[in-house]
Symmetry: D2
Subunit: 265 residues, 4 copies
């Protein structure tokens, strides 16, 4: 039975109530402001190829990848989450692979982890393959000795763990302001929304979508030398995309807004 | 674009890989074994009514409710999660309300919380309105002074918090073995699967489903006197369904298997 | 038996090993860089009085208090924790009360919570009455809509919970740069180190100490209007010191170094 | 300044208040009831030797060790924590090594981890070298397919992680009821209490103590074949004591009471 219009119970996601106030995921637009530590690298091209759905072609730079750690604050329009930051803050890690769709550059995200439940579910709505994990990133500081400055020599570290196994770690030593900034994660993200069917034999909801986003805003970008390692796990195959070569690292602050998107046509 | 058959990338849920091994939610059947602390109670009938979708009728016992704390271990067929218990264990809290569908008794779950990400997402697939939370329940013990025995006088407590606010707490003092056992949560669960659309203006996937389940197995059931309190929160409206009267409490172990279900027709 | 010199096993804290590398707390000096949200307020003077040890006098401003939320990054000399930030980052909440010692202004910290184990133990070494808790604070951002700017109108929130009960929450709306900055927490902290005895009938190690600290460094300080609320809990008596009046709030970044201190004489 | 008797402020541990109710660690006696997964094994004898303080001799079985996973519920006399189980439940992992003290068998615990703050601090009072970690253990079940039965063939797993790195994992496949039960961890624990000094140049409080305990009670013990692995970490040297040979595994429930102890003389 498809659910008919339910004026009594509302909400963008479950649970639906009379007010919609309890829904785990509020309706878009969603606003995001965060810090990014990005390591551009190259993985085994065959491994990258294996993670591209049939609609995507390898393009001319197969094996080009980026590992991205993000320390986010996020809110819905109206933004009352910001004053209750337990509901607004979370950290993420994801990998993007270079590919093409109809000869245009795109990025494909094969793996992603997040440390809070609401952005886990909201991410699945957007077609991000999120799983629960533990992510940590050094924060730059302006005073004291317990943190890097945003200047040449500033040193950052980051880690990802899931199911109590470390899956990735990175370091970044800044060399200076970046002229070009990160490029690997620039093309649009070609995501896949997937929601399993409940009846046996039925097909899941599965659709490719553009991740979207607007009103992108970035701070000055810092770049530097990076290291990156992935580790094996029986439950997470991230190590398939382990670095063969690490290109360059970047640190920046980034903000944008997401308010739904478009199905890929 | 709907996703065409992708022999290259498989998995019941994201992320899809060549092996399917990284998927957050493995395919059903899913096996569950857990301990339950159940408090049967009555809430304001008008409040209960407000939480029933139009397809359900109040039935003859509107306001009859149960608050259920569950301490679970769960695995997929093949069960390797059991040997890596960080991937198998979690705790939940949910409320069920008595209602009828086409004159037959059903239960409706308006609110649910879970303390791990995988069962959060798996629950949404099943139509449970799960949100992230923190749930704790006293465990019975057989030796030592730091826990109740499963015998008359054994005392249990349980709590639920979400977004760093306590939402519910309960106590249970056993009086003896229960002849009848809990009855409020016995009728089938009438769930709603909801997956928001991505394109603006499109309708979400929204369908009523039976939660299903087979091979139910229960231990002897203990019953006793219970207390139950709900608390206000700006982000969770559970207090709408606060107890007006607490009927009786129960403790039992329960196991079952879920392998998909049926849409409500 | 007092432990004789153990050249084989070394470490500032347990566990001691041949290298000292596994010790939970590394030896000082310890470096700290963090962001602070401070709410200066007044509590019931009699309640404040009850929390002062006999060595302290109320002074002329009994009831003057500050509630402090801190988002820290910390490292030992040599600082390898910074590149493994899971070992470097944590958040805290504490209250300080105005008092005097031998007619000189001091501050007294009756309650403190922290969200990680290492600074919990390190804090007890310093005489801070730390307990485990969950602390969250809005972070200022420079881009995007999901966070306040450090400018007039910027709005911050913060919360403390322990044992799954919210204990405190605060808001701060910036009005501008602060000329004077926070003053209540400026006088030296008069702490108490306490380590229970193991033999029955023996007295604990209990000594008053100055919390110490050097090389203090602060960013420009922002001030504004604040709100502050404390909540009851059976396990935490913070609500004894609830605000009767909220004076003013502040936001700043702060860094310093701690390398042991002095016993109060 | 040593703290003089403070009738105004009381508490076994900080924070001290008028009632003592907020103290992180309540006064003993402390009651414990838990489930244990024990793997008896042999490590490199030289590695074991390196972890024994000078007061202990290797004895005749140097290298004999046990890895112990414990899933605890604990309360103080009066026991109100049991009804608020967030304050009563935690999991631990520790290793014990065989040694002798004045020709009598003892055990020595070089490493220990716990997943909650209160037992972390209480453990340090007792001389256990506890650090914060994440510990998981399969629970036996009586119904359903999602857990082992306490019977031959029942399979258990357990893991320890700290600072987002997996440090240890074990499995246990039961073969039957154990006649003898575990023996390696039977001799009394020779612990070391260590509380750093605050004044530079002063010696820490450091004393060897017997861990103590009374009113020990155990369930029937199950034994079986076990596996055990330790992993490297820059912050934890557990891998020094990695298994060279795994002897046998055990599962049991255990309860006891601790109410202070005795210094080693």
């Amino acid at each position: 039975m498809d659910v008919t219009a339910e004026p009594g119970l509302v909400g963008y996601s479950l649970p639906r109530t009379r007010t919609g106030r309890s829904s785990l995921v509020p309706p878009p637009p969603w606003h995001y402001s965060g810090d990014f530590l990005i390591v551009e690298y190259r993985c085994d091209p065959d491994a990258a190829r294996a993670y591209l759905p049939p609609e995507l072609a390898p393009g001319g730079d197969l094996g080009s990848a980026a590992a991205i750690f993000a320390d986010w604050q996020s809110c819905s329009d109206g933004g009352d989450e910001l004053l209750d930051p337990v509901r607004a803050q979370y950290k993420e890690f994801f990998v993007v692979l270079a590919a093409t769709y109809r000869d245009e550059p795109v990025t494909r995200c094969p793996f992603m982890w997040v440390d809070q439940g609401m952005p886990l579910v909201r991410g699945l709505v957007q077609g991000f393959p999120k799983k629960p994990g533990s992510i940590w990133m050094t924060r730059p500081v302006t005073v004291g000795k317990a943190g890097p400055r945003l200047e040449a020599g500033g040193r950052f570290g980051a880690s990802l763990a899931a199911a109590d196994r470390r899956l990735a770690e990175a370091t970044l030593t800044l060399t200076g302001v970046s002229e070009e900034g990160p490029t690997v994660n620039a093309p649009p993200l070609f995501n896949t929304r997937l929601f399993p069917a409940w009846e046996p034999e039925e097909e899941p909801l599965a659709e490719h979508v553009w991740a979207g986003g607007r009103d992108r805003e970035a701070s000055p970008v810092w770049e530097g030398e990076a290291t990156l390692r992935f580790f094996e796990s029986p439950a997470d195959e991230l190590a398939d995309l382990a670095p063969v070569e690490v290109t360059r690292g970047f640190w920046l602050s980034f903000g944008y807004t997401v308010d739904g998107g478009r199905r890929v046509r």
